[in-house]
């Protein structure tokens, strides 16, 4: 294996790992965050960069081919579609009247959110 191949492979693995890390962080955020809107932050942002980095890794691995051009288009569409769909879902929730979660006063855990919401419904 030549030096450039090793370098390419190394870069590919590195990009894949960073991408996977952001996807994981996004998913953990999705599970941990208290309400619908804050969960959108986790999924809407981390997915964009996570997927983007993984696709860049594929481009690096594949080199300058037609497939790489297609992947480049994919990145562009994800960059466009992800925030748009995030916004569409957020707007739908807001229009229906879902109240954003607010941090409660000191001494109250965020775990209480569900009970709070249960009372208002």
């Amino acid at each position: 294996m030549s030096d450039t191949t090793i370098l390419t492979n190394l870069l590919t693995v590195l990009l894949l790992l960073i991408g996977a890390f952001f996807m994981l962080a996004g998913t953990i955020g999705f599970v941990r965050f208290p309400d619908f809107y804050s969960r959108m932050h986790a999924t809407g942002k981390c997915d964009t960069l996570g997927e983007g980095l993984m696709l860049v890794a594929l481009i690096v691995y594949g080199g300058a081919t037609f497939v790489s051009v297609k992947i480049l288009f994919l990145i562009a569409f994800i960059l466009l579609a992800n925030p748009t769909s995030t916004h569409a879902i957020a707007k739908a929730a807001y229009d229906v009247g879902l109240e954003p979660w607010r941090k409660l006063e000191e001494g109250v855990e965020w775990m209480n959110t569900d009970e709070d919401r249960g009372e208002t419904e």
Partner: protein, 160 residues
């Protein structure tokens, strides 16, 4: 029919076809040439608006805007990852509103999508001139209200 718009659309669509097909035999290229003509005829007035001015400058400025946006996206991800992974989970969500100076739909869409992609903020709605933005904590909301991004977008679409 605006022949200039038709030709421009035709070339863009044809380039797209060739890049995506990646076959150079007579059948594929011929089909591309024929199909692109039909599609360009049907959609050339969607792609370009007669009223729009300074299209080239806007496109170039938009391309120049992208690196900054990507940098912001990376910042956003590190920010969200930190908040998600930190045991104390430092979030304090709030909805902020601000009045925009942008007029055209494209500029507003660009700003809305940029806000969604950048640190700690998601655009919920645009009512008339007012943006409704959900921020995950106080700092991102304050950063947004400084209006750096809005000025950049305004510069791109020549509305400043």
């Amino acid at each position: 029919m605006n022949i200039k718009h038709f030709i421009a659309t035709y070339l863009i669509v044809l380039t797209f076809w060739i890049l995506l097909s990646a076959h150079f035999d007579v059948f594929h290229v011929g089909a591309g040439i024929a199909c692109s003509a039909v599609v360009a005829y049907a959609s050339h007035d969607l792609m370009f608006k007669d009223t729009e001015k300074h299209r080239l400058t806007k496109t170039l400025r938009f391309i120049a805007y992208l690196p900054w946006l990507i940098y912001q996206i990376v910042l956003a991800n590190i920010d969200v990852a930190k908040r998600a992974l930190a045991p104390s989970m430092p979030i304090d969500p709030q909805v902020v509103t601000f009045k925009t100076i942008l007029r055209s739909d494209v500029a507003r869409t660009t700003l809305a999508n940029s806000i969604t992609l950048t640190p700690g903020t998601v655009t919920i709605d645009i009512v008339d001139d007012v943006f409704y933005v959900h921020a995950i904590a106080k700092e991102p909301a304050d950063g947004l209200l400084e209006g750096t991004m809005e000025r950049k977008v305004a510069h791109v679409f020549m509305e400043d």
